[in-house]
């Protein structure tokens, strides 16, 4: 059971804690009045992970009609292969970019174009902000084919992404349940014993990559720099470590261990300005 009324970057780990650490087989989200894209993707992956582990999770979905409509429009129920009991009519207008599968690298250009058009249709972005956001999406999306199955031992890392706009911000979430940052870095000689928190720290602070080629790595570090300079919020969760910061500061936190990498970027809308 959970009493959270807001399922967000800040609260979703309480749900994971119940399921992963306390082995709850039911999650009660009926009282939820708001769900952000990061929590939405983590919920989807949690349900799929439990299914694959042979202990299906029962979720009592939010009863608030607006929340249910949004979750449906975002494609959550289709994603987890669940028929939400009496699904409400799809309200596509509320969802900026529904859950989208990120698979092979060859398809990423087309997916980024789709995200770009969704955003451009709704906002008169400046040339500069459009460039920055598009480049950011390219880098973040391609991390899934590059790293989520770096060991070659994951049947399906299940890379997904979604985007939502709010009155004051744009929220991009990307998630997979692959090998995680630690699993990827451990492939590099000399880093076999690295922990989740160390992997996260070194990737974000030093631009470390599993590849020894000097040109590889540094993309996440640069994205963190952009988000900071735009007064945005950033969450990167991998294994049992979470880095979170917003305009007030941040840190690396311990969280319940979950496979893969889940990343969220929230950018203030004012930073996007208007053309002209």
């Amino acid at each position: 059971m959970t009493e959270a009324t807001r399922l967000t970057i800040e609260t979703i780990d309480t749900v994971l804690e119940q399921v992963i650490e306390r082995e709850a087989d039911t999650v009660d989200l009926r009282g939820a009045r708001f769900v952000d894209p990061h929590a939405l993707l983590l919920l989807a992956l949690l349900v799929l992970e439990c299914d694959e582990a042979g202990r299906p999770l029962r979720v009592d979905w939010p009863t608030a009609p607006a929340v249910r409509r949004w979750m449906t429009a975002m494609g959550l129920f289709a994603e987890i292969g669940a028929a939400a009991s009496s699904p409400p009519p799809r309200d596509a207008s509320s969802a900026l970019q529904p859950i989208t599968a990120i698979g092979c690298e060859a398809g990423i250009g087309r997916i980024v174009e789709g995200f770009h058009h969704r955003l451009a249709d709704r906002y008169p972005l400046t040339e500069s902000s459009r460039r920055t956001l598009t480049a950011m999406m390219i880098e973040l999306f391609q991390n899934i084919p590059h790293h989520s199955n770096a060991t070659g031992r994951i049947a399906d890392p299940h890379g997904i992404s979604a985007m939502q706009d709010y009155e004051d911000s744009i929220f991009l979430a990307i998630a997979d349940k692959g090998v995680g940052l630690r699993g990827s870095l451990r492939l590099r000689p000399g880093y076999e014993g690295i922990s989740d928190a160390q992997a996260l720290d070194r990737i974000l602070r030093e631009g470390l990559s599993r590849f020894s080629d000097a040109g590889r790595g540094g993309e996440l570090k640069r994205i963190v720099g952009v988000v900071r300079s735009w007064d945005g919020a950033f969450a990167l969760r991998s294994g049992s470590a979470l880095l979170y910061f917003d305009e007030h500061g941040g840190d690396i936190y311990d969280v319940p261990a979950f496979p893969g990498v889940q990343l969220a970027v929230r950018l203030p809308l004012r930073r996007f300005g208007a053309d002209g």
């Binding site: 060859a106 250009g109 500069s128 460039r131 598009t134 480049a135 880098e139 391609q142 040109g215 993309e219």
Partner: protein, 183 residues
């Protein structure tokens, strides 16, 4: 000097992934190979909206690494961009690879990637003159001959100038140095 333009926008206006960059690099390297000795590729960013750092590294960083390593003989590569912002990804990745490239914008040049005041100062003098010698350069920059030779050697290693040995003064080689930009 034979100069060929390579427009990166031929692959799309918003680029892109490493996979896309790798495919583009095959075309770029094929063009470099087809040039006569001392030929030059002008990599043009005109027509692009977005150039990601990954694409920049896979196309420009890796190909330029091979140029600097001497895999394409005396052929050189120069970047042309309509804006500094578009060249940012190339700049970042060349610096990461400890490489430097001449970047042209609005008929001016700048060094992108690895840059130091000493390299820029020496390069500026060579590009202004078009052709010079280490002795002339040392006098004009007020440098000891050894220091000047070292700077020129570094610029030549980075394929930012061409140099030819024209003699010796005592134990010191005297070089003729040429700009890689057409007058």
């Amino acid at each position: 000097m034979h100069v060929e333009e390579f427009r990166i926008a031929q692959f799309g206006s918003r680029l892109g992934t490493r996979w896309e960059g790798e495919r583009a690099r095959e075309r770029l390297e094929s063009l470099v190979r087809s040039l006569p000795e001392e030929g030059q590729v002008r990599l043009s960013l005109h027509g692009l909206e977005v150039l990601s750092t990954s694409f920049a590294d896979e196309l420009v960083g890796k190909a330029y690494q091979r140029v600097v390593d001497g895999e394409f003989g005396d052929r050189t590569m120069v970047l042309e961009t309509p804006s500094r912002e578009l060249a940012e990804g190339v700049d970042v990745k060349l610096a990461q690879r400890r490489l430097a490239m001449l970047c042209l914008r609005d008929e001016r040049w700048e060094l992108i990637g690895l840059d130091t005041p000493a390299l820029s100062e020496t390069l500026a003098r060579i590009l202004d003159k078009g052709q010079t010698t280490t002795r002339e350069l040392a006098e004009e920059l007020g440098l000891q001959m050894n220091a000047c030779v070292n700077r020129v050697a570094r610029l030549a290693e980075l394929r930012l100038v061409r140099r030819r040995k024209i003699g010796m003064k005592g134990p010191q080689d005297i070089f003729e140095i040429h700009s890689i930009l057409e007058a």
